[in-house]
Amino acid sequence: MSTAVKADNLEKRYGTKKEVTHALKGVSFEVERGELFGIIGPDGAGKTSLFRILTTLLVPEGGQAQVDGYDVVEDYREIRKRVGYMPGRFSLYQDLTVEENLKFFATIFHTTVGENYDLIKDIYEQIEPFKDRKAGKLSGGMKQKLALSCALIHRPSVLFLDEPTTGVDAVSRKEFWEMLRKLKEQGITILVSTPYMDEASLCDRVALIQTGEIMSINTPEGIIRDFENPLVAVKADNMFRLLKDLQSFPGLFDSYAFGEYHHAVLQKENQQQELQAYLQEQQHESLELQQIKPDVEDCFIALMKTDS
């Protein structure tokens, strides 16, 4: 396998001399060819700056990066021929129809819709019944499919998707990730950014990013393996009081709400019994405790807290 994307100590600063925002503080990673790589972090973590540097839209203040072996600053023309890019906002012409959008993007990439139709077939077929509809009148999920088709029309070697699922409902998100898996099978390298931690498990490898720094790079399983402390899911009738009581348990490393349960990160193994006894003492009704495997969100929280 060879390297498709390489970032080396990238730095990006915005603002004036007086007030400088560090969007990226030395970000390094490598993406192998054919990999589905996730950049996972909240808004303001630096995801968009990173993507814009890699797609030659911004010049970094420090460090360097290559895409397909080409330097993002020096060889920007080469890179622009090779990559597909879907920015965070829907980057379609709202007043052009589905078909007009697709044809337009095909032409500017010196290709035709027919030439690479096999690549977009699965995706485009879903929106083809609406091909005469203006892009502005499509649903969020359909717009997303069209934008993806447009980004793929020239069979890019690397595909950059900046927050493609933000603000999209759970069903459309699921469908979108299914499409990405299929594209990966066709050998396209995909970099995707997302604020949704649960999407990490769908990537081959992920980089967890927060305030311009990468906290961890690994496979989703690897990230979870790195979570050292025992984790217990707790539930009771009064969840709000439960959380407060958890926080006063002496053997606790951290605790937080996690969907139906609260998660309690313990300092040592074998503290579960102790915790149970402690909570029963506080007279919680229908108390349930079970040791669980952490997921990426638990890891992200732990990394955020050890960092600060």
């Binding site: 808004d43 759970a170 709400a257 969907g259 955020m304």
Partner: protein, 249 residues
């Protein structure tokens, strides 16, 4: 929750049509005082239209509804005074300072100077924003902005607060701090009406409704919903229901 609990929102066959398109199709539900009510739905299911009717911004085409005891047809001004509103898109003025934002929004709701003074100090302390009070809002990290926006939305002690995707894009730690604030508000008697795309957050709600194609297809506690649809998580409940959706936004 007992039967005699005060109903803060009641909707009966509430409908909104735009031309021959029925955005909200005869929805009926009730929300109790102090409840955290999750209002879920796929993109385009009609959530935004429903919230606009309940917050007095849009007159329904049909059906009835009261919010804080006021009628959504005739008493929209009273409704607006008894609710707070916060959305992901607009909540605070980026080019005003933290203090100026609080002052401005409190002023809109006619709070007295003394009230504003006392409560601003308390709020800045709670949010640990004392140091930042004279900074422009745009210089704050997103998570802080959202927490501040929520505090501003409930500053005038409304009966109900409408939160439209308040935690979109916020980091997981701040997201939980935000929900702690929601819990505290609910404890103090403020009813919380919240939409979200994070399905784990649906679990934090006392009750959840799921809109599909303009109708409320499910409404119960997260626990009952999971039982009813025989799945393990709210995400699966949501996906099961929303897959049936035929229309888009």
């Amino acid at each position: 929750m007992g039967i005699d609990k005060e109903k803060v929102i009641t909707a009966n066959q509430l409908t909104k049509r735009f031309g021959d398109f029925t955005a909200v199709d005869a929805i009926s539900f009730e929300v109790e005082k102090g409840e955290i009510f999750g209002f879920l739905g796929a993109n385009g299911a009609g959530k935004t239209t429903a919230i606009r009717m309940l917050s007095g911004l849009s007159i329904p085409s049909d059906g009835e509804a009261t919010v804080a005891g006021f009628d959504v047809y005739r008493q929209t001004e009273q409704i607006k005074r008894s609710i707070g509103y916060m959305s992901q898109k607009f909540s605070l003025y980026e080019d005003l300072t933290v203090r100026e934002n609080i002052r401005f929004f409190a002023g809109i709701y006619g709070m007295s100077d003394q009230f504003i003074k006392d409560n601003t100090a308390r709020l800045l302390h709670q949010l640990r924003l004392k140091e930042e009070e004279n900074k422009l809002v745009k210089s704050l990290p997103l998570g802080w902005k959202q927490k501040l926006a929520f505090s501003v939305a409930i500053f005038h002690e409304p009966e109900i607060v409408f939160l439209d995707e308040p935690t979109g894009g916020v980091d997981p730690v701040t997201r939980r701090e935000f929900w702690t604030m929601i819990y505290e508000a609910a404890e103090s008697g403020i009813t919380v009406f919240v939409t979200t795309h994070y399905m784990d957050e649906a679990e934090y709600c006392n009750r959840v409704s799921i809109m599909v194609d303009g109708r409320i297809d499910a409404l119960d506690t997260p626990k009952n919903l999971k039982q009813q649809y025989e799945v393990g998580s709210m995400e699966d409940v949501f996906i099961k229901l929303a897959r049936k959706a035929t229309r888009a936004d």
